[in-house]
């Protein structure tokens, strides 16, 4: 049976794509962020997950406002990284974990989640950067299931709804009748705001409390509405919804394998956590 072996959550700042491309990992500006990953590499080497279920938000690559989903899941055989207009170099495409993706899709529909199902899928930096951070050689040793959350068009799915979808994904993984070690990724956040007169807003206190809640009180952030989250974490801080989906997949307690937090990377409070079910 399939089993969740860990949850890895991380920020996905577009500028990281350029930094990776230019090998700036040891540059004083970037080092505090990239230093979070050697412990994760060691863990990956030891645990060797087979499949990544990646919870992230599309920034206008696979989806546009002509057809803007609330929740989408990719069942495509190949997840394609391509030009997304931000100047981020493309990466080799990612094999889709088709069996598990379809199983999760079917299970979510039966659980009253009104998924958009994608048999073709382009993946942007929110999906690709966590992968490149985990496997810097960009030779993907895993298959993937992309799960996309709308953070573009308000109202967003509520934090509670996102957590519940995570729970439903967790149940689907547990009922998958094939042996597989699954790593769940939550991509985005933490506090940042790109637009408006309050651009540059960061809320360290909230972020630290939120990171603590991922371990000690996983539903803490589900009390907040989408606009509450904008107020507290900045317009793009709402991407923490992806962390909530990821955290929801593990019903029991988790322990921290690694945690790091650094302000700023680009305009973002950059955070990375690796959690293991206990």
């Amino acid at each position: 049976m399939a089993k969740i072996v860990g949850i890895m959550t991380t920020s996905h700042v577009p500028a990281l794509g350029r930094a990776i491309h230019l090998n700036l990992q040891q540059d004083p500006y970037w080092k505090p962020f990239f230093d979070g990953f050697p412990p994760i590499h060691e863990w990956l080497e030891r645990v060797k997950p087979d499949i990544v279920v990646s919870c992230y938000n599309d920034h206008g690559l696979n989806f546009f406002l002509d057809k803007q989903p609330t929740f989408a899941i990719g069942t495509a055989p190949e997840l394609i990284s391509t030009d997304e207009g931000w100047g981020i170099p493309s990466m080799p495409s990612f094999p889709g974990a088709e069996d598990l993706a379809w199983h999760i899709r079917d299970s979510l529909i039966r659980d009253d989640f009104d998924m958009l199902t994608c048999q073709e899928m382009l993946v942007d930096h929110a999906f690709t950067l966590p992968m490149a951070l985990m496997w810097p050689d960009q030779k993907w040793p895993v298959k993937s299931v992309p799960v996309c959350v709308n953070t573009v068009l308000f109202p967003l799915p509520s934090a509670r709804r996102c957590f519940k979808m995570g729970e439903a994904i967790g149940r689907a993984i547990a009922s998958f009748p094939e042996d597989a070690k699954v790593l769940v990724v939550g991509s985005g956040g933490l506090s940042h705001q790109l637009e408006g007169e309050r651009a540059g807003f960061i809320n360290k206190e909230f972020d630290l409390k939120f990171m603590d809640s991922m371990v000690n009180d996983p539903q803490w952030a589900t009390q907040f509405s989408d606009l509450d989250l904008v107020e507290k974490t900045g317009n793009e801080g709402v991407e923490l919804l992806n962390w909530l989906v990821a955290r929801g997949t593990v019903a029991g307690p988790v322990k921290v394998v690694h945690s790091s937090f650094h302000i700023p990377i680009s305009n973002t409070a950059a955070a990375t956590m690796l959690l293991e079910p206990v």
């Binding site: 577009p14 500028a15 920034h59 206008g60 690559l61 546009f64 406002l65 002509d66 391509t82 030009d83 997304e84 207009g85 931000w86 100047g87 573009v152 068009l153 308000f154 109202p155 705001q193 790109l194 637009e195 408006g196 007169e197 309050r198 651009a199 540059g200 807003f201 960061i202 809320n203 360290k204 606009l227 904008v230 107020e231 900045g234 317009n235 793009e236 650094h262 302000i263 700023p264 680009s266 305009n267 409070a269």
Partner: protein, 117 residues
Amino acid sequence: MTRPQKRTIPGAPIFDSDAARRGYALNKMCYSFNSKANRDEFVSDEVAYCKKFGLDEAQIKAITTRDVLGLISVGGGVYFLGKLAGGVLGLDMQDIGALQTGVTKEEFKAKLVAAGH
């Protein structure tokens, strides 16, 4: 028709239904910047490219004057505007931040660093 008052958050424009409706043509143009051929076409004649996507005068003016707050007020969504700013105009997020907050880029970056303390 009278609509209920919307909650607003000072300095944090929300890309909601009203914005999406107002900005559809603008955002569709920005979405086209996922392709280099389209970015190049825009650069070669900005106004013609805007008109091809049906942008109105206010939107075209906000484009040609690089008025980021203006682009938001005429319905631009930041994830779409980012393709214009980053991929076409070569601005990074600190350039954009400085433009919107009326400070220099160095001041904007210093504010970000200060948020870490």
